[in-house]
Amino acid sequence: MGKRTGVYICSGCEIGKSINIEKLSQTVTGEQNITVCKNHSSLCSVEGYELISRDIEKEKLDSVVIAACSPRVKTGIFDFPENIICERVNLREQVVWCYEQGEEDTQMAAEDYLRMGIARVKNILISQPYIADDISSDILVVGGGITGITASIEGAKAGYTVHLIEKEKKLGGWSGKLYKQIPYKEPYNKLIEPVVKEKIRNVEDNPDIKIYKSATVSKITGQPGKFEIIIQNGQEQKITVGSIVASMGWKPYDANALTHLGYGKYKNVLTNVEFEELIKEYPEKQLAKSILFIQCAGSRDKDHLPYCSSFCCGTTLKQAKYIRDLSPETSVFIIYKDIRTPGLYEEFYKEVQKDDYLFMTKGEINEIKEKDNKLQISIKNTLLGDDIEITADMVVLATGMTPAGTEDLNLAYRLGKGLPELKYNFSDSHFICFPYETRRTGIYAAGSLRAPMDIPSSMEDAKGAMLKAIQCIEATKRGEAVHPRSGDKTYPSLYLERCTDCKRCTEECPFGAYDETEKGTPLPNPTRCRRCGICLGSCPERIISFSDFSINSVSAMIKSINVPDEFEEKPRILVFVCENDAYPALDMAGRKGLKYSPYVRIIPVRCIGSINNVWISDALSKGFDGILQIGCKPGDDYQCHFIHGSELTETRSENLQETLETMMLEPERIKTEFVEITDYYKITEIINEYVEAIEEIGPNPFKEI
C-alpha cells in the first residue's frame, strides 16, 4: 500500500469513441488513491511514452496503469525501468472491440477493468529474484552410450565441466556393440565405422570430462544450480552439479515373449541384437545359405510393443548388407509391414534394394516350423497374392527398443525416484513444439530414453538436452524460471507458520518442486519451481504467494468490481482464463469483432490450476452470479502447459460444487471449460451460453446480504 500510481487512459483505436473517457477517469480519481490520472489520444506514440516517463520522474511514481490495448501488443513501447510496476488494462481487444459502442454496459466494463488494474497494482510488488549461493556450473550426464558421450563432449566444448557416469566397465552402450553403422550422409552406398569409437576416444581424452565407469548414482538431492550427487563406484563419492542430462538409453524388447516366431524354440532364430553381436565377433564366419528377417517382431503389435521403434527397418537393411557383403552366396529375405526409412534414409534403402539376392515382401508370419535343421516360414497377405512358404537356415527377428527407465537416478524427491513417464514408459516431453519440456526441472532426458531413436537422432538429441542443461544453470544464476515461463523472476514464498501440513502443494506441484519433512511440512526448492502457481491454487490456508500474483492481488481485483444489485438485472460472471491460450483467443475474438456478453469480467491467471477456492468464495460473497474457468485441454493429449493444471481445477471444482449444494446454491454457478488458442469463435459461444444459463438460474442469493 501507499504506492504512487499513475493512471493513463488511451482514447485511440476507437476507445475514445466507445467509452466516455472523462467519466472513466472520474470513477478512478474519485475512488482510488491515485497520484495522477491522464488521458492521451495515443499512448503508444513517442509523446505518450514520454508523458508517462516524465510523470514517473516528476511525480516519483512507482507504478503505472495503462488502460489501452492488450498487454500482448506494444510490449516494447511500454517498457519502463525495472523498478516500475506496469499494469496493462485491456480496453481495446477485450472491451471496445467486443462490446457495443457507447452502451452503458460497455462503460461499466471499462470502469471495472480499470479498477481491477489499479487494485492489482496496489497489491503486487516488484519481484526480487531468488539467487542461490554457490551455484555449480558442472553438469552430470547419466549413461555413457552414444547419447551420453555426445552430450558430454558437446557440453565440455561449450566450456562446462561434465561428470559422465556409466554403469558398465566401458563406455559405448549398445552403439559400442555394433559391427558397422548405417551411413547418415552421402555417400549412402557404404556402411560406415560406428561413430561411437572415435567419440569414446574424444571423451576419454577430454580433461573437462570426468568419467566414472562401473558407477551408479545412489542419491540425488537438491535443485537446479545445486544438485548433490552421491556416486557409487566401489567407493562413495559426492559431487555437486548445476543440472543433469539423463541418457540411460534402451533395452531390447524381450524376445522370450516371441515364441510364436520361434524364439527360444529353435536355436537358429536370433534377434537383431544377437545377430549384430555374432557378426561383430565373427565377421569371417561362414554364413548360412539363406537368412530371413522378420520386421516388427513384437512391434506395432498390441500384444507386445504397440509402437514402432524407428530403427529396426534401417538395421535390418544394414544387416542384410553385412550378409551380402560378407557372403555373396547367401540369399536374404525380408518380411515387413511397411519399410520405414524416412527422410534421406531412403537413399540407403534404394542402395540395398539394388541387390538381386535380396527378396522383400510385405506380409504376415503365419507360422515358423523347424524341419531337418531348416526353418520353414509360412507367410500370408503378401504382395504376391498367395500365401508363400520360405525355407531358411536362419531367422533374424527385428525386435524393438524399450526405454531403460530412470529409476536409477534415485532422486530423493517427494514425487519419486525417476522422471515422470509418458505412455510406453518413455520419459518424453508431451509437447511437439517443446521436445525438452521436463517435469523435473534441471534434469533433461535425451536419446532413446525419451523416444525410440537411431544413432544420428540420439546424437542430435544429446546436443539439444545439453543446451537445456546449460540454459537451466545460466537461468538459475540470473534467478529466472526456465520454460515455459522463462525469464520470470518471481518465485513462491510460503508463510509456514500457518501451514497445516496438508501436503496438497507437495502432491499437486507438477514439477516436484516441493519436498517435505516427515511431518508433511513443505520444503520448497525455488529453482525447481516453474512458477505455474498450482501450489497457490492448492493451498487451503492461502499461505503461498508470488510477488506479482497472490491471494490478495486477485481477491483485491474481484472486490474492486462493482456488482449491480439484482434489481438492475445485470448479472455478473467472473471468468478466469489461462493467460497463454484462452486470453489470446479472446484478444483474437476482439480483433475479429466477435461480440460476447458484457456481463463477464475476465481475470487472466498463469494456469487455471492456480485458481484458489477463496477467490471463488470472494466472488460469490461479492454477489457474482457465476464463475467460469477456461483453461487448456486435459486428458491424454493434454495441452495444459503445466501438465495437469486443468485437470486439478476440474477436480477441485467438482468438490466445490458439492459444497455449493450444501449451501443451497446451484452447482452450475461454477463451471470449467477448455479451449485451444485458436478457438476464438468457440470461446465467445462458451461465454454467451454460460451467461444465458446463469440468467436462467437467476441471481446469486448472496447479492442481498
Binding site: C44, L344, K423, K468, E474, A475, G487, E676, I677
Partner: protein, 413 residues
C-alpha cells in the same frame, strides 16, 4: 564476473526452427539477431491447421515463443529482411542485410482503419491465394509483430493515398525505400526452411490442370477455421463441401523422376488431415493411397486411431492417373491395390497430393547435397539447421534447432 563482449549469432529464417534457435540461445544469456523475409514470424507452421499427433494448434506454442521473444532484450528481430552477403570468419562475420520498404511503420497500432478504405485487393499468400486481402493487410490474426503490411505489387501508392489519410497515427509512409545495412556477427545459422515440392511437375496428377487437385500444404489452409472457407472445408472449383476425398501419398516423392527421397512428414500429415476431416464431417469418405505408411515411433498410436475409423480407407498402391469429370469437376482416381491386385477407379470430390519437402530457395551461394539440401556445416561458424538441411517434422526440427543453439554458443563462447 565480467562477461566479455561477444558478437551475436545471426539466425536466418523466422520459422519454428529459427525462432527456437534464437530463443534457446538468448535464454542461455547470449545475444541473437533473427531475420525473416516475410512481414511476420512463424514460417510454414503458422499456416498449419494443427500438428500431428496431438491435433493441437501451432499458435499455442508460438504464443509462448512470441512471449519469449517480446520479453527478452537479448533478441533483436527484423521482419521483411533478407541476407545478401556474408564475409569474414567465425566470430567476426560481417553480414549485409536488406529490409524491404517499411511502408507501415512500427508505430502502427493495428487498429484496422486503413483496411476499410483501401480500394485494392491482392491474393492472400497466407491462404495460398485461395482468398484475397486488401493491398494493406494484417497478415493473419495471430501475426507477430502485430502490425499491418502493404503489398507494393498491388498498392497504388501516393496516387491513392487513402490509407495515409485515414491513419490517425501517421504510421504509413508510401515513399518508404528499402534499406541495406551491415551487422557484425559471431556466427550464422541458416534456418531457411522448406517449401513444398512443385506439384505441377508431376504430369499424371494434373495439379495445374484440375482445380480440385490441391497439395497437402494448401489443404492445411482449406481445413483451417481461419482459412478461406471460414469454418467450412470447401473445394476450390465451386466452394462446396467435399464428401469423397482422396489422398495421394508420395506425390512425386520416392520417385527418381521427381523427388528421389522420402520427406518423412507426409504420411502422418495425411493421417492428420483425414482425422481433421472426420472431426468436421463424420460422414465423409476418405481414401489414402500409399506405398509404405511411414509413421514412426509413438506416432504408431496415431495410425491405429486412423485404422479404427471406418470412413478412412488405407490402400497400398500408387496412384497412376487422375482424370477430371467435365461437368462436376470431380476427379477419377486410378490406382492398383497391390494387396488384392485389383485395379481401382474411384470418383472423388477433392484430391489432396501429399507432396514432399524441398529446401527453400537460398539467396546465397551455399553448399548443397545431391538433393539440394544445405550441408550442415557450411564453414566454421556457419551452420544449417532443420528442414533446409534435411526433411523433418516439427518436433525433430525443434530438437535440431535446440542442438544448433548449442553449436552457436560453443562458437561464440
Amino acid at each position: 564476473m565480467s562477461i566479455p563482449h561477444k558478437k551475436p549469432t545471426l539466425i536466418v529464417g523466422g520459422g519454428i526452427s529459427g525462432i527456437t534457435t534464437a530463443v534457446e540461445i538468448a535464454e542461455v544469456g547470449k545475444e541473437v539477431i533473427l531475420i525473416e523475409q516475410k512481414p511476420y514470424l512463424g514460417g510454414n507452421v503458422i499456416k498449419m491447421n494443427n500438428y500431428f499427433p496431438k491435433l493441437c494448434p501451432p499458435a499455442c506454442g508460438l504464443e509462448i515463443n512470441f512471449r519469449r521473444i517480446r520479453q527478452n532484450p537479448r533478441i533483436k528481430y527484423y521482419t521483411s529482411t533478407t541476407l545478401l552477403e556474408i564475409s569474414g570468419e567465425k566470430n567476426n562475420f560481417s553480414v549485409k542485410l536488406r529490409s524491404a520498404p517499411q511502408y507501415v511503420k512500427d508505430n502502427c497500432t493495428a487498429c484496422g482503419k486503413c483496411v476499410e478504405v483501401c480500394p485494392e485487393e491482392r491474393p492472400d499468400e497466407f491462404n495460398y491465394n485461395f482468398s484475397k486481402t486488401k493491398a494493406i493487410y494484417f497478415p493473419h490474426e495471430m501475426a507477430f509483430p502485430a502490425k499491418f503490411s502493404i503489398d507494393d505489387r498491388y498498392c497504388k501508392k501516393e496516387s491513392c493515398n487513402k490509407c495515409v489519410e485515414v491513419c490517425e497515427y501517421n504510421a504509413i509512409d508510401l515513399s518508404a525505400k528499402e534499406e541495406v545495412f551491415f551487422l557484425e556477427v559471431g556466427s550464422v545459422v541458416f534456418a531457411t526452411g522448406w517449401k513444398n515440392y512443385d506439384a505441377g511437375l508431376i504430369e499424371n496428377l494434373h495439379y495445374s490442370d484440375f482445380k480440385n487437385v490441391v497439395t497437402n500444404v494448401e489443404f492445411e489452409r482449406l481445413i483451417a477455421s481461419n482459412g478461406p472457407g471460414k469454418d467450412k472445408l470447401i473445394r476450390p472449383s465451386d466452394n462446396t463441401e467435399p464428401e469423397e476425398i482422396v489422398f495421394v501419398q508420395c506425390a512425386g516423392s520416392r520417385d527418381e523422376n521427381y523427388l528421389p527421397y522420402c520427406s518423412a512428414v507426409c504420411c502422418p500429415a495425411s493421417l492428420k488431415h483425414a482425422l481433421s476431416i472426420q472431426e468436421k464431417y463424420p460422414d465423409s469418405k476418405i481414401k489414402i493411397f500409399y506405398i509404405d505408411l511411414r509413421v514412426s515411433g509413438r506416432n504408431e498410436d496415431f495410425l491405429a486411431k486412423v485404422e479404427e475409423n471406418k470412413n478412412i480407407e488405407l490402400i497400398k498402391g500408387k496412384v497412376a492417373k487422375i482424370e477430371e469429370v467435365g461437368e462436376t469437376k470431380n476427379l477419377i482416381v486410378e490406382a492398383e491395390d497391390v494387396l488384392s491386385g485389383k485395379k481401382i477407379k474411384h470418383e472423388a470430390d477433392l484430391v489432396v497430393l501429399a507432396t514432399g519437402i524441398v529446401p527453400s530457395d537460398a539467396t546465397l551461394n551455399l553448399n548443397k547435397d545431391q538433393n539440394g539440401f544445405l550441408t550442415e556445416i557450411q564453414k566454421e561458424g556457419i551452420h544449417a539447421v532443420s528442414c533446409c538441411k534435411k526433411p523433418m517434422d516439427v518436433s525433430s526440427s525443434v530438437k535440431d534447432a535446440t542442438a544448433a543453439a548449442l553449436k552457436a554458443i560453443q562458437l561464440t563462447g
